[in-house]
């Protein structure tokens, strides 16, 4: 079952992935000069580079005031078509692939090439959390004034006939896989439609490791592969054959 789901996942010609993210989060803040060094090393691999100031605002509702704390710059790198990206801030480094998703091998290859050098430039910091998130968007044709998302998603809220048909939904669940030391956040919701005549639903899978987290590059890569296996299992369990047909 395990290998079948992985093989099957690679067969999709039109996967519904809108955004894939790999994040490495650090236990202590990375100094700005280290972040700049990582950005400089990565810069020639991306077409564009930008800097955004990051801030944390603490709102005091009782006194109607707010504290503004400057967290320093986030260095963002992106391909000219905005499909590939990398962002470095004080707390984490993130690799992003947006649709069209070309497959795990391409995404992993970029990550595997850039991550070891980036971590070195950041001073080989202690890693607090590794996350792999895939945001899928399920577009469902509206027929007879209904978008039957249940024809595409196996995971859903069973609320009985009383609340049928619903006008919107949202669910969120977490689970810990103790045997493989991974956790997941899976969520789905009705979202803003983009295509005339279609309803839209998110199916969002975030797999992460936040205990006994590896800090060495090769161990991180192995862990990310394990995460991807679990992500694929969750995705395959969550979608129907009807959905598979649409994406193949």
């Amino acid at each position: 079952m395990h290998s079948m789901s992985n093989d099957r996942a690679q067969l999709y010609d039109r996967p519904p992935i809108v955004e894939a993210v790999i994040e490495i989060r650090f236990s202590t803040a990375i100094a700005e000069n280290r972040r700049k060094k990582a950005r400089d090393w990565l810069a020639n691999k991306y077409a564009a580079s930008s800097i955004e100031q990051q801030a944390e605002v603490k709102v005091h509702f009782s006194s109607k005031s707010a504290d503004f704390k400057n967290l320093g710059p986030t260095f963002t790198l992106s391909s000219s078509d905005q499909t590939d990206g990398c962002a470095i801030n004080a707390a984490s480094i993130v690799w992003v692939r947006r649709a069209p998703y070309e497959g795990w091998e391409q995404f992993k290859s970029r990550f595997a090439t850039e991550m070891p050098q980036a971590l070195k430039a950041l001073g080989d910091p202690n890693v607090e959390r590794i996350g792999l998130r895939y945001v899928n968007r399920i577009d469902v044709k509206i027929e007879n004034n209904e978008a039957r998302y249940e024809d595409f998603l196996n995971f859903r809220i069973e609320h009985g006939d009383l609340l049928e048909p619903t006008t919107s939904y949202q669910w969120y669940l977490t689970k810990e896989f103790l045997d493989i030391n991974l956790k997941t956040i899976v969520q789905s919701a009705s979202v803003q439609p983009e295509i005339p005549g279609y309803g839209a639903f998110s199916f969002d899978i975030d797999v992460f490791c936040d205990s006994k987290v590896p800090s060495k590059a090769d161990e991180i890569l192995t862990k990310v592969e394990e995460m991807r296996d679990l992500k694929n299992k969750i995705f395959e369990a969550g979608i129907t054959d009807e959905a598979r047909k649409q994406y193949s």
Binding site: R14, P15, P16, V18, E19, V21, E23, A48, S50, E52, Q54, A55, E56, V57, K58, V59, H60, S78, S80, D81, Q82, T83, G85, N89, I93, V94, V96, R98, A99, P100, G131, R133, R137, D139, I142, E146, A147, R148, Y149, E150, E164, P165, T166, T167, S168, Y169, Q170, Y172, Q187, A189, S190, Q192, E194, I195, P196, G197, S202, D206, F208, Y247
Partner: protein, 202 residues
């Protein structure tokens, strides 16, 4: 089952990139990409927002980059409905239209809602023929299809509406027809002028 009204043109469009739909969703990996984090008094998650630096403070190159990035990132939401060549061509055209060297400070960058209307029309009407594009002073996109000496020009207006103009040549002389329509009716309103000659077949 979930009933949904047929697609309603709306002036309101979601911010770009797939955004968390609730505060709880921000616990995921994507959080690191968000620029500003708002926290409640107790320190727990309150709500996260993407806050753009005000346009006026940005130089031309940054404004052009932001406008292009916004359009391209939005495209990722519908990329699975676009063939690769159409998507690449649209991006090339957007890049050309926003060339910094030719840019006049008075020009407006592409209106995202106008771009969305164009892409939605391409997907909804299965438009195979790729138009030439121009940018209007308002930031709306103007698309033009040609069939010999005949031309179809469409301005994509925010809110999934469009203004169209057909210029054709008949044996009796030149003919012009124009109108304003909802995006979904484009093929229907152009049927008398042969919509398929503009849209079908590359």
């Amino acid at each position: 089952m979930q009933p949904l009204p047929i697609f309603e043109p709306s002036g309101v469009t979601m911010p770009e990139r797939v955004q968390p739909i609730s505060a709880s969703m921000t616990a995921s990996s994507i959080r690191a990409l968000q620029m500003y984090s708002f926290r409640s008094e107790g320190g727990g998650p309150f709500q996260d927002y993407l806050v753009a630096q005000p346009r006026a403070e940005k130089v031309i190159e940054e404004q052009l980059f932001d406008a292009l990035a916004e359009a391209k990132i939005w495209t990722s939401r519908v990329a699975m409905h676009l063939d690769s060549e159409t998507r690449k061509r649209l991006f090339r055209q957007l890049d050309v239209l926003h060339n910094a060297e030719d840019w006049d400070q008075r020009d407006k960058t592409v209106n995202l809602e106008s771009y969305q209307s164009l892409v939605r029309a391409i997907i909804h009407h299965s438009i195979d023929c790729r138009p030439s594009l121009a940018l209007m002073p308002s930031g709306n996109l103007l698309a033009q299809w040609r069939d010999g000496n005949d031309k179809l020009t469409v301005e994509f207006v925010p809110g999934n509406r469009l203004r169209w103009l057909v210029q054709s040549h008949t044996e009796e002389g030149p003919e012009r027809a124009s109108g304003t329509s909802p995006l979904e009716r484009l093929r229907t309103v152009l049927a008398p002028y042969g919509a398929e000659r503009w849209f079908d077949g590359r």
